[in-house]
């Protein structure tokens, strides 16, 4: 187990290093990152001064090493617009995004997993067909469209819920549903496939032969075994939800890091955008490592195979 954990951690480290490098390359894609950081009407002198100030006039590999050195010391650069460390600005918005992602995860798991169980155990029934339709729908509606639809129905027409902003719990409901819809579909599909796989196994037949009903076999034995792939999905979905927040926060004017990212692109404050991309990618890598650990802890077979 320790060996496996060490290997997996090294793999994650390499992945994170690669992510840092790709973000660095993307920031330099335009040729001169200084141009990203100045207002469009900036004079040539201003640009030259800032280029020197930020060290963009040095060779690229020096900049790269400097960038890695900075990150190692948690130095993520300074916001060009606000003149404070970019990390502080992102950190101040982070709690909102965490709230939203948690809300979406509750929606996704709370509906997705029961739906998946029903779809797997009641195959061929009308309920299964209806749920399948809902799941495919959830997958096909872009988050911003379901967001706008919710705003129109519950905000504009019925006036039950606030259409934007944050603060009260009621403001969290619609963005959570809109953001969670896609994950809900993923959970339902994974749960369904996972349970169908288990239902074909001998222990299920043995349980049924002993006189257990299908329901109690599922509740007592199948769910435990089927849970493993679903746990992995849950971990990966956290990263996806954070990424999806970029769009949904803009729809609902939710003051999290997603909205901050888009605002920062508009005000050409790329240091903040960079921090947000790195942060979400870091969570992505971290949660996938955690998922693999949980996986290995719950199912000893996986450790042995590798």
């Amino acid at each position: 187990m320790l060996n496996y954990a060490a290997q997996r951690l090294i793999q994650a480290f390499v992945a994170m290093f690669g992510v840092l490098t790709i973000v660095f390359i993307v920031m330099h894609l335009s040729g001169d990152p200084t141009l990203l950081l100045v207002p469009q009407d900036a004079s040539a002198e201003m640009i030259a001064e800032l280029r020197h100030q930020l060290g963009f006039d040095r060779p690229v590999w020096v900049q790269y090493l400097d960038y890695l050195y900075g990150l190692l010391h948690l130095d993520f650069g300074v916001s060009v617009v606000q003149r404070v460390p970019a990390l502080d600005i992102v950190a101040s918005r982070l709690p909102y995004t965490i709230q939203l992602a948690a809300g979406a995860l509750v929606v996704a798991i709370g509906f997705g997993i029961p739906a998946g169980i029903v779809m797997a155990t009641m195959r061929g029934s009308v309920i299964e067909r209806i749920l399948t339709a809902i799941v495919v729908t959830g997958q096909s509606v872009p988050t911003f469209l379901s967001g706008i639809l919710l705003i129109f129905i519950f905000g504009v027409t019925l006036r039950w819920l606030p259409t934007s902003g944050s603060g009260e719990f009621s403001a969290l409901i619609m963005p959570s549903i809109a953001l969670g819809a896609l994950s809900m579909s993923t959970f339902a599909r994974m749960t369904r496939i996972s349970i169908i796989d288990e239902l074909g196994k001998d222990y299920v037949r043995a349980g049924r032969a002993r006189g257990l009903s299908l329901g109690s076999v599922v509740v007592r034995h199948v769910l435990r075994n089927a849970a493993i792939p679903v746990i992995t999905i849950a971990a990966l979905e956290i990263g996806n939800l954070l990424a999806g927040a970029v769009i949904i926060e803009t729809v609902f004017a939710w003051p999290g890091i997603g909205q901050l990212a888009i605002q920062s692109i508009q005000s050409r404050d790329f240091m903040i955008v960079q921090v947000i991309v790195l942060l979400i990618s870091f969570v992505y890598v971290l949660t996938s490592v955690l998922a693999d650990f949980v996986y290995a802890l719950v199912d000893p077979r996986i450790r042995l195979v590798r």
């Binding site: 390499v14 061929g124 729908t137 509606v141 496939i193 992505y284």
Partner: protein
């Protein structure tokens, strides 16, 4: 795997109703996209200031705006029809880009093994650690929006999925006798990969491409919604809807029609993709 395509032909005769239905929707969107200039009743960019934010069915000087108008008095029906072409062309081209890059890398990694395999597959792991929408947002923001950039960015962020499939399939195929035979007959790597391996791994790649196609449509709409995709005045469903979001209380129709089209298109692509996957992988079939 090399029996998959003929077998698909046999099953095609038993097409479920839902699949037939979504195929029709999909074909209709494709036809709208191709014939947009002839179908659309008006110029999608023509602004009529007297007809701003008018509801569906509004008439002005003998012109009927069947789906209403947007904030600049442009005909929403015409813009929605032209949006189909934007949506489909960005999705098709970016799927082509990512298939070309992804499949080539995957086949090369699976065939040559060794160092190139390690480098390519590590790169795949890394690319898949960055959420695609974020990488796309960052890259478009750096490079600037526009049709070509959008296609390149979407294509070049989504290739790793194809690489994984192409790589695994190539590993399997390359041990089969007919590949060994053609190698012994003196065929070079390029000939083997494109003449023998590629046709045999086309099925699974087609499945990935269909799933990605739906996703690309969503990503294009999402980026355009954020103002990072197709630039005004060109009509994209995403950008029409971002205008519609601002006028939601006064003009619901601006969001409603492009939104419905977007949903129907992605829905039909997803249903078709699921069905296609079931044809190749009977294990996941629901009935």
């Amino acid at each position: 795997m090399h029996t998959a395509l003929p077998a698909l032909g046999v099953r095609l005769r038993r097409v479920p109703l839902s699949v037939a239905f979504v195929s029709i929707i999909f074909l209709m969107v494709v036809l709208l996209a191709i014939f947009a200039p002839w179908i659309a009743p008006a110029d999608p960019n023509k602004q009529t200031l007297l007809a701003r934010l008018k509801p569906p069915g509004f008439e002005l000087r003998g012109v009927t705006y069947w789906l209403g108008t947007d904030d600049l008095g442009r005909d929403l029906l015409s813009r929605t029809i032209h949006g189909a072409g934007v949506s489909l062309s960005v999705a098709v081209l970016s799927v082509v880009v990512s298939t070309l890059v992804g499949v080539t890398l995957g086949m090369v990694a699976g065939w040559f093994r060794g160092k190139i395999e390690i480098i390519v597959m590590r790169l795949v792991d890394i690319m898949m650690s960055i959420p695609a929408i974020l990488l796309a947002v960052l890259t478009v923001a750096v490079l600037g929006p526009g049709f070509l950039n959008l296609v390149l960015v979407l294509g070049l962020t989504r290739w790793p999925r194809y690489t994984r499939v192409a790589y695994a399939q190539t590993l399997q195929i390359s041990n089969l006798p007919f590949i060994k035979a053609s190698e012994l007959a003196g065929a070079g790597a390029a000939r083997i990969l494109f003449h023998h391996v590629l046709p045999n791994i086309a099925g699974p790649i087609l499945i990935v491409a269909t799933a990605e196609f739906g996703l690309m449509i969503l990503m294009e709409a999402g980026l355009s919604f954020l103002g990072l995709g197709i630039q005004p005045p060109a009509a994209s469903w995403g950008s029409i809807m971002s205008v519609g979001r601002q006028y939601l209380e006064r003009a619901w129709w601006i969001v409603a029609f492009p939104g419905t089209c977007l949903f129907l298109l992605v829905f039909s692509v997803n249903v078709l993709g699921d069905w296609l996957r079931d044809q190749f992988d009977p294990r996941s079939r629901s009935r």
